[in-house]
């Protein structure tokens, strides 16, 4: 039953990808921007936990919400400072994309200056016994990852589909001018979207640090890129797509590690991106949208 174990481990890893992919897909859905600085929000989340728990010695129940709130504000700040003017003036997509890369470089270098370039060890965040299910034994981190990510997704679905601001997000992403004509302050909706996406990235950071207890300023690069692949895989702009893409990518990675080759996993992941872009550019759950003229 090794196979079953690899699937579960893959879902544990995929939980992290899925949470990060949600941030990419929500921001893309609403402003059509691939926010390449999104991966670095995970890094910010990791360092905040490190700062609060290791440097200041404060307890975890304080570090977790503080890190989530700080990440949400960082996301809003990035949108306000770096993207808002470009969005309001309808700048070319390529300008937005380059700005996002600039923000990413800025965040990484800022944290390198403050905390140094060497990796930092994280204390175990949530200690738990391995989870036993009959003859199976599952790592506690895997179980925590899956449970937390599922709770987050249920919460996000309720937020988007049942609340006024969530419905305003759907309206704004479909037709922002019409949303404005309904009296929706679309700038505020966009800001809120960045906050939620970044808060989910902070949760992903917690799970990541709990699973791989080490942080460094560049940690968001590969993780962010893989989550981006997950979002494209599921269909960028689609919230269920990002979740599905994240879990699938985790499972594929885990199975590749087990049965193909450990060194080839990243090649397989990005190979998948290339195949999707060739075969089904809209992703598994993505809709082919017609460009309006």
């Amino acid at each position: 039953m090794d196979f079953f174990n690899h699937i579960i481990n893959g879902l544990g890893l995929g939980s992290i990808y899925a949470l990060v992919a949600l941030g990419y897909t929500m921001v893309y859905g609403i402003v059509k921007l691939i926010n390449f600085a999104h991966g670095d929000i995970i890094m910010v989340g990791g360092y905040m936990v490190y700062l609060i728990m290791v440097k200041w010695g404060l307890p975890i129940w304080l570090a977790v919400p503080a890190s989530i709130v700080i990440c949400a504000f960082t996301g809003m700040l990035v949108e306000r400072v770096a993207y808002r003017r470009l969005l309001v003036h309808n700048a070319a997509r390529i300008s937005l994309l380059i700005t996002a890369m600039g923000v990413s470089i800025f965040l990484q270098n800022a944290f390198m200056l403050i905390f140094g370039t060497d990796p930092k060890l994280m204390p175990p965040l949530f200690q738990a016994e391995p989870f036993k299910l009959g003859s199976f034994e599952l790592a506690s981190t895997t179980v925590i990852n899956i449970v937390v990510s599922v709770i987050m997704m249920i919460g996000l679905n309720l937020l988007v589909n049942k609340t006024k601001i969530g419905k305003a997000m759907i309206a704004t992403s479909e037709d922002s001018s019409a949303a404005k004509l309904m009296g929706i302050n679309t700038n505020r909706v966009i800001s809120f979207t960045f906050a939620i996406g970044s808060a989910l990235a902070a949760v992903a950071a917690l799970l990541y640090c709990n699973t791989y207890p080490q942080i460094k300023p560049s940690m968001g690069n590969l993780l962010g890129l893989k989550a981006f692949v997950a979002a494209v895989f599921g269909g960028i702009g689609s919230i269920p797509g990002a979740m599905l893409g994240g879990y699938l990518l985790g499972v594929i990675e885990s199975l590749t590690k087990a049965y193909v080759s450990t060194t080839l996993t990243d090649a397989v992941v990005f190979g998948i991106l290339i195949i999707i872009l060739l075969v089904k550019p809209a992703g598994i759950l993505g809709k082919n949208r017609k460009e309006k003229v």
Partner: protein, 236 residues
């Protein structure tokens, strides 16, 4: 109620509106008629704040609105039913209507429910389909939804951009009856139409636009008899 004073709007180097001035008084139905590309929709977008004018001023109930953001203008009581309906196809009919009431505070819930019932009474078909996604509605139903959605903000004045576009004659009649009813219940109306005959038949006054300027104005009944209007817009 609405005063547009010499606005000039540009799309890049294109001068889309040239010194456009007109006014709408409380309780009126005023039409803006003209051919495709005359600047009617641009005028509507500028009033609602989606576009901004380089010079000139727009006032609504005595307050300048030309520098306000669109959502603030809606809050003042000026709502628009945009050209092409633009309903949110991924939201249900009921959610679309609730988006129309977005600017109203949460503690207004009971009044919002009441207005929802009024819209459903006006358009029973929307009530039947209130749990359906708006994208699945027919063109006529979507137009009803677009009007109902705009009414949910309880506007003092309603801007309607080409409400007859793409609808069958019977539906056009239905929509125009509805516009008249809304007007009778106290909402001032500014109507943009290519269907000039229909628009003039329900309006008090009208303005004729051509290539970004207003070239004629008068009582609707006068314009219906005007030779120039007849020739250009009423098919002889």
């Amino acid at each position: 109620m609405l005063n547009v004073n010499g606005i000039n709007v540009y799309y890049g180097a294109i001068h889309a509106l040239k010194d456009v001035s007109f006014h709408v008084e409380e309780g009126e139905i005023v039409s803006l008629i003209g051919a495709n590309g005359a600047g009617k929709t641009t005028t509507m977008h500028t009033i609602s704040g989606l576009l901004s004018s380089k010079t000139g001023d727009i006032t609504f109930m005595g307050q300048s609105i030309s520098k306000l953001e669109p959502h603030r203008i809606v809050k003042l009581g000026l709502a628009q039913v945009p050209e092409g309906r633009r309903v949110f196809s991924n939201l249900t009919v009921q959610d679309n209507l609730e988006m129309g009431a977005y600017t109203r505070p949460m503690n207004d819930r009971r009044e919002i429910e009441r207005d929802l019932e009024l819209v459903f009474k006006r358009f029973p078909r929307l009530h039947e389909r209130r749990r359906q996604l708006a994208g699945t509605l027919s063109g006529g139903e979507q137009q009803m939804l677009a009007i109902g959605r705009a009414l949910m903000s309880r506007p003092k004045m309603l801007l309607l951009d080409e409400p007859s576009m793409g609808l069958s004659p019977i539906l056009v009649q239905e929509i125009f009856n509805c516009i008249q009813e809304v007007n009778k219940s106290g909402t001032t109306i500014l109507l943009v139409e290519q269907n000039a005959k229909m628009a003039l038949s329900i309006s008090h006054r009208a303005y004729v636009m051509e290539t970004g300027s207003i070239i004629l104005e008068g009582a609707a009944s006068e314009l219906l008899d005007n030779d120039q209007v007849k020739k250009a817009y009423l098919g002889g």
